[in-house]
């Protein structure tokens, strides 16, 4: 991602992501198609035209997490409010031709967090 496209402010409990023209989305259609390695619905050459995600509102903090089994440590905050504005397109040249434009006001959060962490060789 370009520099400045993603920011986390741990003190304020906020984060933002902005990106445009992500053209490597090939596993679209359904969640099952995305997760299944054999892509039962096939590959598709889609793109995310733009996306803006904003995190805010800390609901719970996890300070000093130290997981020796999974080799990561850090400080994390669960987030209660997230909005996403995204436009994605499967161009007509793929044989499909579809565009989705989200309504940010409809965003509901299943789970969200921000944090700082170290894992792998940085776990110590």
């Amino acid at each position: 991602m370009p520099e400045g496209s993603a920011e986390v402010d741990l003190a304020a409990g906020t984060a933002e992501l902005h990106a445009e023209n992500i053209c490597a989305v090939f596993d679209a259609f359904t969640v099952a198609n995305s997760l299944s390695a054999d892509r039962p619905l096939g590959f598709v050459s889609g793109r995310i035209d733009s996306v803006d995600i904003k995190w805010s509102g800390v609901t719970k903090s996890f300070m000093g997490v130290h997981d020796a089994t999974n080799h990561f440590l850090g400080n994390f905050s669960e987030i209660g409010k997230v909005t996403i504005a995204v436009t994605a397109t499967t161009p007509k040249i793929t044989g499909h031709g579809f565009r989705f434009v989200s309504d940010p006001a409809t965003t509901t959060v299943n789970y969200a967090l921000i944090g700082s962490e170290r894992n792998g060789v940085f776990f110590s």
Binding site: I22, V25, L113, R118
Partner: protein, 154 residues
């Protein structure tokens, strides 16, 4: 398919796999990777190759099914109960890359919007579900060298 075609195809598959969930761009470059099929594909991919040689390593944990190096979203201290969705493969490390230090953000969301058939112009309401994450900081790539940047998991 001759040997050269086979090698190119395998390289393309590797690109798909490596970009299944992680798209990285160096600072100052266009976002994302070009993988659109068409006349512009080769130049986009080449441009991406020039800027995205540093590939990250996945975390060791594998969630099966579906068989991927990630935990589903959940409390990082592993406090998810047996009633929590995707338990016991939920929570813990929210990062999908290892040998990483930096900041992260994760959002598992449901939302709706308008889908339009570009062939007919017909529109209707659609629901959408995403697990979107980003990781910003330093990571040791598969080349064994430290790299600074921002990666995203879609």
């Amino acid at each position: 398919m001759n040997d050269q075609d086979l090698i190119l195809w395998k390289k393309l598959q590797q690109k798909w796999l490596s970009r299944r969930s992680l798209i990285r761009g160096a600072a100052g470059t266009a976002a994302g990777a070009g993988l659109l099929l068409g006349s512009g594909l080769r130049s986009s991919v080449q441009a991406d190759d020039d800027n995205c040689k540093a590939l990250s390593r996945p975390i060791p944990h594998i969630t099966a099914p579906p068989g991927g190096h990630f935990f589903f979203p959940g409390p990082p201290d592993g406090s998810a109960s047996s009633t929590f969705p995707h338990f016991p493969n939920a929570g813990f490390d929210p990062s999908t890359i290892t040998d990483f230090k930096g900041v992260i953000a994760q959002a598992d969301l449901n939302f709706s919007g308008t889908g339009t058939d570009l062939n007919t112009g017909d529109s209707t309401a659609y629901m959408f579900h995403t697990d979107w994450r980003f990781f910003k900081g330093t990571f040791v790539g598969v080349d064994g060298l430290p790299h600074a940047g921002t990666l995203t998991f879609i």
